[in-house]
């Protein structure tokens, strides 16, 4: 359906003609390929999300409100997105307009004393971090990295990342929200709703944080968030990251109170024990199993390629034969990265001692190859800024995670053989078919502190493929289906590869209700979705969102 001229004119009057388009080529830029990344469905070869009816660039909450009211008047769906990192932010159905929040990109306030920032939707992690560092503060950067919207992560999704153990999830950091509700009313949640400032999302004032966020965030399906406040954390480093080097091998030489280590362990049990050790000791600023995303066999070579500007992917086979790289790769077999940041000289001294003691107790080690200065300084910058997160896609352009194990560190290590090794062996068999990158089975990336203060780890087994290649894309899909079956038979349940199957189907559109209901009914807590149904009936009476907001009748 094309918008009637009357409706289009009304929308145009709200945002001005230069901020609206229904040109087919423009609209095709707002379609996401389901042959791609981190959508947790598919991949489906050459399938795209539906074309919206128009795309609008609102410039204020008032404009958003006017658009949403108009949508309610004419029963038009709307979907807002800020940085468009994945399929969540794109239309699921016809009769949907796309809101691109790009023009709302200001850091409205950065309160050094009270340690929070108020941001608009298109403020990205890199810019907020850069501004926060100027005043000795830092912001949590969620998993997708520095390119992504802070607000979207905090309001509409889970928002965890490598520094979560120290800086929490973004939803935990949420101190206030301005919400254009699905019916077009504006609600300011928390203390800001009472005119008391942005310091607390749970009051004094309307305390609807839980409702606003739903179970894991609204995924852009319940109104539009136009401002939010985020808690900031201490940063004991320089006001500007001192970056040097040639691209892409940028490095940061930081003072001695900030160090990056790659830790290796002799067994998965030792690996898990070390996680408990660092949480118990309360050390670590960033802790993540990061470079494993390149695969157990390839990560050493990839670190070399990425930290040396003279290298390219074409060097990978040669590097795999390099004895130094082979040794480093083997040392990193059961690994994770940790950044220590001491607030004082005594603090870093203590953290270093605690880490050494943990390594002594577990038989672990600091991977020597990663202490080579260029690699250390590259790794340090990588982990602090997360400015290279789309290396996820470095091999062929496509990746997605499967299995998606999450829980205490033992969840991946306690079975015999260890669950992580079962998954590795299973994936290795599929790598032999040739459709996914042969990376050694274990390409499991994830947080060592999957919640504030530690307490859980999360792993997502990266599977790399070529979205331009039909056999590779479809072969990956077959592997993911097999991975799901494997997980179900093992009693682990479906993995991350099917995380969004309830919302969007293989045609890129909303999943059929009967399939959606079956998936949600089989989940651990279906009642939560029944509760969300009530919320949706109350706040979104015209059902102008999509199925990413999970509901059950």
């Amino acid at each position: 359906m094309t918008l009637s001229r009357e409706v289009y004119k009304e929308l145009e009057d709200i945002v001005n003609p230069e901020n609206i388009s229904e040109d087919p080529a423009v609209l095709d830029c707002y379609r996401y390929p389901l042959s791609h990344t981190a959508i947790h469905i598919g991949p489906y070869y050459r399938v795209y999300t539906p074309r919206g009816e128009a795309v609008l660039l609102p410039g204020s909450a008032e404009e958003v409100q006017a658009i949403v009211k108009l949508c309610n008047k004419y029963k038009i769906r709307f979907k807002a997105s800020s940085t468009f990192w994945s399929a969540w932010g794109y239309p699921c159905e016809d009769n949907t307009i796309q809101l691109d929040m790009r023009r709302m990109d200001k850091i409205l306030e950065l309160d050094e004393k009270n340690m929070f920032a108020v941001v608009e939707p298109h403020v990205i992690e890199a810019t907020l971090q850069a501004e926060a560092m100027k005043v000795g503060l830092n912001t949590h950067i969620h998993g997708p990295g520095a390119s992504c919207s802070c607000l979207a992560s905090a309001t509409a999704l889970g928002g965890l990342g490598p520094d979560t153990a120290y800086m929490g999830h973004h939803n935990e950091n949420l101190l206030g929200v301005e919400w254009v509700m699905p019916d077009g009313e504006i609600l300011r949640v928390g203390s800001v709703g009472s005119g008391l400032g942005w310091f607390c999302c749970d009051g004094p004032g309307p305390s609807l944080k839980g409702l606003v966020r739903g179970m894991v965030g609204t995924n852009g399906a319940m109104g539009v968030f136009t401002k939010c406040a985020l808690k900031l954390y201490p940063w004991p480093g320089p006001a500007t990251l001192p970056v040097e080097g040639r691209p892409p091998a940028y490095k940061a030489v930081l003072p001695d109170n900030i160090k990056s280590y790659t830790l290796g362990f002799p067994t998965w049990k030792a690996w898990a024990d070390s996680c408990y050790g660092i949480w118990e000791a309360g050390i670590g600023y960033v802790a993540h199993r990061q470079f494993s995303m390149f695969g157990r066999d390839l990560k050493g070579a990839m670190v070399k390629i990425l930290s040396d500007p003279t290298k390219t992917l074409s060097d990978i086979k040669e590097l795999l034969e390099d004895p130094e790289i082979k040794k480093m790769t083997e040392d990193m077999r059961r690994d994770y990265q940790i950044v220590l940041a001491g607030m004082t000289p005594r603090d870093i001294e203590w953290q270093e001692k605690a880490l050494d003691l943990i390594l002594e107790k577990t038989g672990g080690w600091k991977v020597q190859g990663m202490l080579e200065p260029d690699r250390h300084n590259w790794s340090l910058l990588y982990m602090l800024r997360l400015g290279h997160k789309n290396l996820n896609l470095v091999y062929g352009g496509g990746y997605d995670g499967c299995f998606g194990l999450g829980g205490t560190p033992d969840f991946g290590t306690s079975e015999e053989p260890e669950r992580v090794e079962q998954v590795t062996a299973f994936k290795c068999e599929w790598e032999k078919k040739g459709n996914i990158v042969a990376s050694g089975g274990d390409a499991m990336m994830g947080g060592i502190g999957g919640m504030g203060g530690g307490g859980m780890t999360m792993w997502e087994n990266f599977t790399h493929f070529d979205p331009h290649n039909k056999a590779s894309t479809e072969g990956t899909m077959e592997f993911f289906d097999a991975a799901t079956d494997y997980g179900v038979k093992k009693g682990w349940g479906p993995g991350m590869e099917k995380m969004n199957a309830y919302a969007r189907g293989r045609d890129g559109r909303s999943t059929a209700k009967e399939i959606r209901d079956r998936i949600l009914e089989a989940s651990a807590q279906p009642e939560a979705f029944r509760y969300q149904r009530k919320i949706k009936e109350t706040f979104n009476p015209n059902d102008l969102g999509d199925a990413y907001y999970r509901t059950l009748d």
């Binding site: 390929p33 468009f84 850091i107 970056v243 500007p309 062929g396 996914i436 331009h468």
Partner: protein, 423 residues
């Protein structure tokens, strides 16, 4: 290569949006974090490299057709290559800047033209310059200059003034200065005067590949006939054309930008400073000297896969990502001038913000072009500098115009001009 050959890139583009920003590691503030002037000005995703991949794919797949908006998307880009650098932080198998050029070539082939470009190109075909001026006046910039004229005389080094320096009366003193500095340092330098022709670089960026090829082949023929071994130019656009675009057509000349030659002469002691230039300056990296000024490496090969699905190239493909552009020579020259204080802007080297003059934007989209230059001016002012210095007449013209439009007091210099002041 044809546009269709980039379909793999279009489908492998992960829509990560890195192309819109400077490399995230280099972000120092909210204010100066953006890298792509096109989307920063026009806002729709379509005006980014990611968007242009999608637009091209949509056209190739027949999902959309040429509209005024599509033409606007394709041409409202300064072809500065910022997207190319940012994309290649994480990717080794995407070529967004090459694809943008191919997309323009296709639009030109299909007659989807901008009247502002057409006027310039039609004039170029008659008068061999991009300045809408008479070809007969091309050598006027060198009147009274004691320098050899090629091909009547022979010289080891040919100084190519380029269209802007030849005709822009406010700027042409820089070209005269460059020639004088080289000559006085003992370099056997000559010029072609009114026999000089446009390099074609800007023609290429506008999408007129055939016109570029004609100009390049004519220049190569003329230089070969004159026995020229080394080409020196003060124009970054010409430099890039000679360095990167001419070799595939058979050119085998040493190509140097004036700043490289001056840096060499200063380090060899052939240029000595006798005066102080008390000025706080900042340096603007021209895109075609900086990130696009990497040495040309011949390559002919094909894609292959290792480890099942890792996309590599056989033989090893040169990687142009701005890592090896011309960054140090202009800085070294400036740092060597007594009294000058060089303060850096936030966006420099391979992640410098463009001046806005490139890709035909100055000709077709003066508001966009001026906005881009004004953004750079704001960044320069944030350093506390009294002057912005560059090494390209197109950058300097756009910055001078932005200063004028803003009623600002920032001075604009070429590197060579400051060298002259110190002698």
């Amino acid at each position: 290569m044809a546009l269709e050959d980039y379909k793999a890139d279009m489908e492998r583009c992960s829509q990560c949006s890195y192309c819109k920003w400077i490399p995230f590691d280099q972000v120092k503030s909210w204010r100066f974090a953006k890298g792509c002037p096109s989307i920063a000005y026009s806002n729709f995703l379509s005006y980014s490299a990611r968007g242009r991949f999608a637009v091209a794919l949509s056209l190739l797949n027949g999902q959309s057709t040429y509209t005024d908006r599509v033409v606007d998307i394709v041409y409202k880009c300064v072809t500065c290559g910022s997207c190319d650098v940012a994309d290649k932080i994480c990717r080794y198998n995407l070529e967004p800047l090459e694809m943008i050029h191919e997309l323009r070539f296709r639009l030109v082939e299909d007659g989807q033209l901008l009247p502002e470009h057409t006027a310039v190109i039609e004039h170029l075909r008659k008068e061999n310059n991009m300045m809408m001026k008479s070809g007969a006046e091309r050598g006027d910039w060198a009147k009274g200059l004691d320098v050899k004229h090629i091909p009547g005389e022979s010289a080891e080094v040919l100084f190519h003034a380029g269209c802007r320096f030849s005709y822009d009366e406010e700027l042409r003193e820089t070209a005269r200065t460059a020639v004088t500095l080289l000559r006085d340092a003992g370099v056997d330098v000559g010029i072609m005067g009114k026999e000089e022709s446009c390099c074609g670089g800007r023609t290429y960026d506008m999408g007129y590949k055939e016109d570029f090829t004609r100009l390049a082949e004519n220049n190569i023929k003329a230089w070969n006939a004159a026995g020229v071994k080394t080409i020196v130019t003060s124009c970054a656009d010409c430099f890039h054309a000679f360095l990167r675009l001419y070799p595939p057509l058979g050119a085998k000349f040493e190509v140097l930008h004036t700043v490289q030659f001056l840096d060499r002469l200063i380090k060899e002691g052939k240029i000595k400073f006798t005066k102080t230039v008390p000025l706080r300056i900042t340096y603007h990296d021209p895109c075609h000297l900086g990130r696009q000024g990497e040495p040309y490496v011949p390559w002919k090969g094909k894609e292959k896969k290792v480890k099942n699905q890792i996309v590599v190239y056989e033989p090893r493909k040169p990687r142009y990502n701005g890592a090896w552009g011309v960054y140090e020579p202009p800085r070294d020259v400036l740092k060597s001038i007594p009294g000058l204080e060089l303060v850096e802007m936030e966006r420099i080297r391979e992640y410098a913000w463009c001046c806005g003059a490139g890709g035909g934007a100055r000709e077709a989209y003066p508001d966009f072009s001026n906005w881009t230059a004004t953004e750079r001016l704001e960044e320069a002012k944030s350093t506390g500098a009294e002057a912005i210095v560059s090494a390209c007449p197109w950058c300097e013209r756009n910055l001078i115009d932005a200063v004028s439009a803003a009623g600002d007091k920032m001075k604009v210099f070429d590197v060579a001009e400051l060298v002259r002041q110190a002698i």
